[in-house]
């Protein structure tokens, strides 16, 4: 079986050699995309979740925060496809609006962490004199289990959407900074950087034009994983009551409340949890797939 696969791969490779260069490139990309299952599956799932988040106002006319004390804990039915929770709020509309919040926070955290983590990593890796002190601070921040540092930061900052983004970003920066630093360390030893130096290029320009592009692919891969991590992080914080304020529909908040009603209303636990898992799974699959394509060291065959 394995030998057959190898023969087929070799056959494809020998054929590729005969083709003109541009076709080879395109064919290789197509082949990579086809062999890679993570990107199509993860991508499709993610598109569904994003679609749900964007179309939230049209998918449901029910107010996700609208209380209805007489319709508490109603099982899924015609009016409420996912049932209602302990305050009589519609679980479907809360789940749909929760997607918006999760993606919003996940995306913001990923972008902010990518920007600040890259800056820190570039500086630490490029200016060797600052390296030790910067990386010791990063090591110190990594000495806390992530979720605990986030909880502590939230307890100091107070509950709000903005503070969740701040806390999670601060927790994830060191990890990204480490990756970018190690890439910077290897790129700055390359000959083209030396050549740029010799030409009298400024540090800023070298960092921007020569080193940053080298960091791009790990940045994209790590960014995708950070997105997934941040979605989980927000949900965990909210579940513990240290995240998004309780009145805002968030999957973590919903699950935190559902805990007391497992016996009477399991649907309040099922739907937000399922959406959360699907979203994170989609991002993880996508990240795995992108890594296989962008990181030639891990590519097999």
């Amino acid at each position: 079986m394995i030998r057959l696969k190898r023969q087929r791969r070799e056959a494809l490779q020998t054929r590729a050699v005969v083709l003109p260069p541009r076709l080879i490139w395109r064919q290789r990309l197509m082949r990579l995309l086809l062999r890679n299952k993570g990107i199509p599956i993860g991508g499709t799932l993610l598109v569904v979740v994003i679609g749900m988040a964007l179309a939230a106002p049209w998918l449901t006319h029910l107010d996700p925060m609208g209380l209805n004390p007489r319709g508490r804990l109603m099982p899924p039915g015609q009016l409420h496809p996912f049932g209602t929770d302990n305050f009589g709020r519609d679980v479907f509309s809360r789940t749909v609006w929760g997607a918006r919040l999760s993606l919003e926070i996940g995306f913001l955290v990923a972008i902010l962490t990518a920007i600040s983590g890259t800056c820190v990593g570039l500086i630490a890796g490029y200016f060797r004199r600052l390296d030790t002190s910067i990386m010791r601070v990063m090591d110190g921040m990594m000495a806390f289990p992530g979720i605990l540092l986030a909880i502590a930061l939230m307890s100091a900052l107070g509950p709000s959407k903005f503070n969740v983004v701040t806390a999670l970003t601060m927790v994830y920066i060191p990890r990204l900074a480490r990756v970018i630093r190690s890439v910077t360390l290897s790129v700055r030893e390359m000959q083209f950087v030396e050549a740029a130096h010799a030409q009298g290029m400024s540090h800023q320009r070298i960092l921007w034009r020569h080193i940053l592009p080298g960091c791009l692919s790990p940045l994209i891969v790590q960014g995708t994983f950070l997105f997934a991590e941040a979605v989980l992080g927000e949900a965990s914080l909210s579940f513990l009551g240290a995240g998004t304020p309780p009145y805002i529909p968030s999957w973590g908040n919903m699950l935190g409340e559902a805990r007391a009603y497992l016996r009477d209303a399991p649907w309040t636990m099922l739907f937000p949890g399922l959406s959360l898992t699907v979203t994170v799974l989609a991002l993880n699959l996508l990240g795995d797939g992108i890594r296989d394509i962008l990181d030639p060291r891990l590519r097999r065959g």
Partner: protein, 315 residues
Amino acid sequence: MFTYTIHRLVLMLPVALVVSTIVFLLLYLTPGDPVGVMLGPDTTEQQKSELRARLGLDQPAHVQLLHWYGRLVQGDLGTSIFLNKKVMLAFLERLEPTFMLTLLALTCGVLIGLPAGILAAKMHGSWFDTVSMLTTITGVSMPTFWIGLNLIFIFAVTLGWLPVAGYQPLSRGVWEHLRYMLMPAFTIGFAQSALLARMTRSMMLDVLSQDYIRTARSKGVAELWVLFRHALRNAMIPLLTTIGLSFALLLGGAVISEQIFNIPGVGRLLIQGVSRRDYPLVQGILLIIAAVYMCVNLLVDLTYALLDPRIRHSD
């Protein structure tokens, strides 16, 4: 080995300094007056200034920081405001459940993760490989607390086999203790086993494709011996790091698991501290946990050096 140990210990010092400074700064992140936040709105100015004096907040920041270091060197973590108890004492009282939970979860993670990873690597490309890898990526993506809620729903609410929540100390008998700990430990252990299985598989695949494995096989070494003696031993070093690093996952998971299953452990103490804004308590617990995490990783590094002499002598 002795020099290496000393070297590692010295390297830990600056990190410890940074850690304690971060924890100190937490209080300064609070917008406005932290004392007002701690005591709530209905307090007199006198009560506030008393607490401020007790916490040393009436002194300039750099003096406070020096005092903080001084106290830490003496092993004094301060006093909880609400429990009116030394933080260290409060921590020790709550240690047993958290310790047992982490230990059981680690056992759970290793017992599931390692065999699954080894088997998946051995049967690379088979249905077992596919199924276990699908399971692990789902396992990594599922939030810990949702796994816990599902377990409660299935095994406690629907089947009634295990208690919904709560805790029985070890002194009440091992079986009684385990009955309460099984679901909480599995909740955390599952995520860890998924991580370990993925790591084990890729490490074993790497090692199994090496020349010396082919040599061992061709000279007729038994397959099991090849797997465990030749391959696993070399895959073990990166795996140890993963286990060490995932210890953070365990500690974080313990906080969540204790919250779901109403276990009176350190995690619940921390969450209570957060919701009551008991800053000395939160700071103290955070410091202890960071210290434990750092020590575990130090132990991992030392074990590493013990297993692989190359690391000992490299720097």
